[in-house]
Homo-oligomer: 243 residues x 2
Amino acid sequence: MAAMSCDRCAARARGVFCALSARPLGRLMAAHVPHRYAPGQQLCFQGNAAFAVFCIQEGRVKLSRLAPDGEEHVISVRNPGEIVGHRAVLLDGFYRASAVSIEPSTVCAIPRAAFMDLLRENSDFANAVLMQMARASLDTEDRLMARAMERVQTRLARFLLEHLPEPARAAQEPLVIRLELKRQEVARLVDTTPATLSHTLHVLAQRGVIAPRGREIRVLDRTSLERIARLRPAAEGSAGRPG
Amino acid sequence: MAAMSCDRCAARARGVFCALSARPLGRLMAAHVPHRYAPGQQLCFQGNAAFAVFCIQEGRVKLSRLAPDGEEHVISVRNPGEIVGHRAVLLDGFYRASAVSIEPSTVCAIPRAAFMDLLRENSDFANAVLMQMARASLDTEDRLMARAMERVQTRLARFLLEHLPEPARAAQEPLVIRLELKRQEVARLVDTTPATLSHTLHVLAQRGVIAPRGREIRVLDRTSLERIARLRPAAEGSAGRPG
DNA sequence: CGGTCCATTGAGCACCATCAAGACTTGTGG
DNA sequence: CCACAAGTCTTGATGGTGCTCAATGGACCG
């Protein structure tokens, strides 16, 4: 897969390159390297030299960091229009996280030098990247805060709500979530272990909130789920975080 | 305290404004508002409108976020030359964290409009802010990861090592750490409770690693402390993270 | 119809927060 | 300088959450 037009890229309007005028856009088109990734394929490895910034045209990319003890921790999931790896490219040339495609994705690699040139010469572009980094930083902060302070139940509930089928977000129960992921992977995204995930699903099932059956999960009581996710004020009694 | 020269600011060389040429620097000098803060004084509140970016000239500033359950969580400690509040100013005008001085500090407030103008018109400046945000984002990420995954012992050990007296960092034992903070505040910085902090200090004392006496803590075995902080490979046997 | 992978379930345990009471420090007034 | 009070720190007991480990139960595939 060689040349693709950046000016016809579906994600450009949403991303940091939207402000680029014809000339720098031309240089970007010359420099970028588009690529298709299957789910599970790795874009880059934590610790490697940051030779490129990745721009997601289509699909989703999971960013995770390896702890010293070898455990993987998801720090962000990026969507089309967003970029990946710019922090490492900016800082010192080593990726701080690994990036893995979790959906069939089209991603363009932009060589470090080209990216830095664009930054230096194009103030609007620099500002756009700034905005995106601000958003990403906030997102990651929220996610890590949630992990540190919220219970598995809460994180799971939020995960489920985020994975409701798009058109049915406002529809009525029972909603059905079809997860294309293995439990292992879901556990990672919720930041827990498969065993604990199973246990927590069981608890929610017993409460009549959901009805899990393999990779298909029916949401029976969306209101409760939202309360558990702390998106609604908690009912008194079962409130607060004991541990 | 009214006008101070930015061009004589001790922190400028270290900070994002180092690249500013005479003209924008002049405008910055006209717009900024310097202020002195005693330890414990608040620079800004989470949730408030982000009317300014703060530039630390002297001292240290603690950034913390309030969880929905009302608990405070430290996300960063910023040093001279660094800026605070730029993310909120960039994004949508609301501070996402509260900022409190934890040392006698001199901090300049730069109004939102002035900051944004500088960003737009000065590509070097935008790049400098970009770099700083990249660093800060990484720092916060590390801190939050540590909280989520490391034991209190580990975080405490790291905290102690970071608070070794500067000139003695390479010197021999016994090193003495003089903390000017109350236990309550130390507990917050290590992200735990005063009670648990006491417990953990006791455990380390029993192992002969440290000898705490009030706000003075003697480090008896620095090597062990570094191992506990995971800055050295763990000895076999007492390794791994059980919980 | 066994084999392999994945998911579930239960028992046990480590870590840490909470609570409450006691020891200590700090500050104040006699 | 001492007595007393208020705040701070420590210490112990208790319990909750979630991880580990291990065994069972299904699903998919050869």
